[in-house]
Symmetry: C2
Subunit: 315 residues, 2 copies
């Protein structure tokens, strides 16, 4: 469930006017920006962007980008975009990251979004960059990591809930064999993780645990300094339980010396109007502390105020 | 352009009644079936199927399957299906073919159909078989051929017409290097053919021809007994000029001792309401003989009458 709190029928015209006012004159009224945009869902934000464009012949997103700065600007910019467009931007930034692409973001988007969402994201990517995600991703990777990531991004997985228990058992055995031999990048490994339906992957991994008394992730963790292996592990986590995965991303981001604002922003922005409540609950359970407290402790200023608003803090 | 000739507003109810009559009593009236279904486009056939189901609580496609036989039955069955559903059936049959999948069909469908068509086909496949095309295909293949085919089927290519000439030149060089070293299955080879937009692949192959004075297909032909290489060649042909490719498939099908009815049917059925006219023109040019004559010579009976009707023969 969402943590975002928003009024039922705000006026896009009044919101656009208020945002214009917040951006004009000396200094910017960040509080006004937070109290409007931090309390509007995707459809409401879209209507505001349209009204703003119609009234002032100016792109609201670009205006905000030029008025704000730092982590706060990045968060507001990404939040204000249409969700599919935002994911397209996240993918593009991740693919072009130096020295190597940020695999986590690519895997999150391809494994956690539904097929329909992923398709809309790939479409938004093509409109924005005049390339396909697949070709950019393939160009910036090589070898087994390319195979894994391009497979995850491109395959149209079956979405049904039914599973084939015999197949699960058979493929659990394949996984166990290749992983025991430490051939983690075996093509069968990649095939099973990238092409089977999520329900079937889950059934296979459960069977693995039943048959070999250990979670597959335990086997893979030993070598997780290895880039491909770490990507495989991330894919498995995203497919199996993405709330748990996101909780860990947030926890590590907050615990990192200096805080990893990029990851923190990403999880909050992309989950606030979907399932941030579940992630918050898991965080509380795992860290014996509400997520809001941890975020409040590790961030500051407008950035902190904006994240707390998205986390559902009342005025 | 299509070769199919059909009336503008036929009555689906009258057509369903006539088909029912053709299937009832002693013997089947194949002529009636040909004169109705062989002159109806996809939407008209869909309306007939619906009217037939409503009126007789029976599936027309199944009824025709049980009334007819041989190549004629196969052709009528495939023709009567919705085009996306038909391609899904063709894919499934091709993937499950023994001893090895029929790569040509898989490549044709993934390289010749538009992205929107391919998506609808993959969707129809999932509804019919409760699996994704990708997982079935990956399960029935291995190694480089798996990488090539799953790539072709799954990647959402950019559809824009703009090309990057510098990139074309750079990637033509990569292709030339790996092909000169006879590393045909090099991952860069697969990357370029499966992920670049069709316009970009074409630009790269043209650059290849300009820079090295030989078409890439000439290099690959030397070893085309090799299964992977022959698949790569087919993909290149389908992307570069699918009319020419289809002309060749039809020519080989007709010239084969005993005739390859499967391929002949496939090309005619899938092109009759799209671009069979272009294929006919190429056939005439290449063989100094109208396609109808060649088909008339090599086939017989109701099957022949049906194909000729789809080829645009007037009554």
């Amino acid at each position: 469930m969402a943590t975002l709190i928003c009024p039922e029928h705000p006026s896009p015209v009044a919101d656009a006017e208020a945002l214009r006012k917040a951006c004009q004159g000396w200094g910017t009224d960040e509080k006004a920006i937070i109290s409007i945009l931090g309390r509007r869902n995707a459809i409401q934000r879209k209507l505001i962007r349209q009204a703003y464009e119609d009234m002032y012949q100016e792109d609201l997103v670009k205006r905000l980008e030029s008025e704000l700065s730092g982590d706060f600007e990045k968060a507001v910019y990404r939040w204000t975009l249409d969700p599919h467009d935002r994911d397209a931007v996240l993918l593009n930034v991740a693919i072009n990251q130096l020295p190597i692409p940020d695999y986590r973001v690519i895997i999150e988007i391809s494994c956690i979004r539904s097929h329909e969402e992923l398709l809309a994201i790939k479409c938004a990517y093509q409109i924005r960059y005049k390339h396909s995600v697949e070709e950019d991703l393939a160009q910036h990777t090589t070898g087994d990591i390319r195979q894994l990531l391009v497979g995850l991004v491109s395959v149209y997985r079956y979405d049904g809930k039914e599973i084939n228990a015999r197949l699960a058992s058979f493929e659990a055995e394949i996984l166990h064999r290749v992983i025991s031999e430490k051939v983690y990048n075996h093509e069968e490994n990649i095939r099973i993780i990238t092409t089977r339906s999520k329900a079937q992957v889950l059934a296979t991994l459960n069977q693995f645990k039943d048959d070999y008394d250990t979670k597959i992730t335990k086997y893979l963790k030993d070598d997780s300094s290895h880039e491909y292996l770490s990507a495989l592990l991330t894919a498995i986590r995203c497919i199996c339980d993405h709330h748990k995965y996101y909780e860990k991303v947030v926890r590590c981001a907050l615990n990192k010396p200096g805080t990893d604002e990029n990851s923190l922003t990403r999880v909050i922005i992309t989950s606030a109007e979907k399932d941030l409540k579940e992630i918050k609950e898991l965080f509380q359970k795992r860290n014996s502390m509400p997520l809001e407290h941890a975020v409040g402790k590790e961030t500051s200023g407008d950035y902190k105020a904006f994240l707390l608003t998205l986390l559902g803090k009342e005025d």
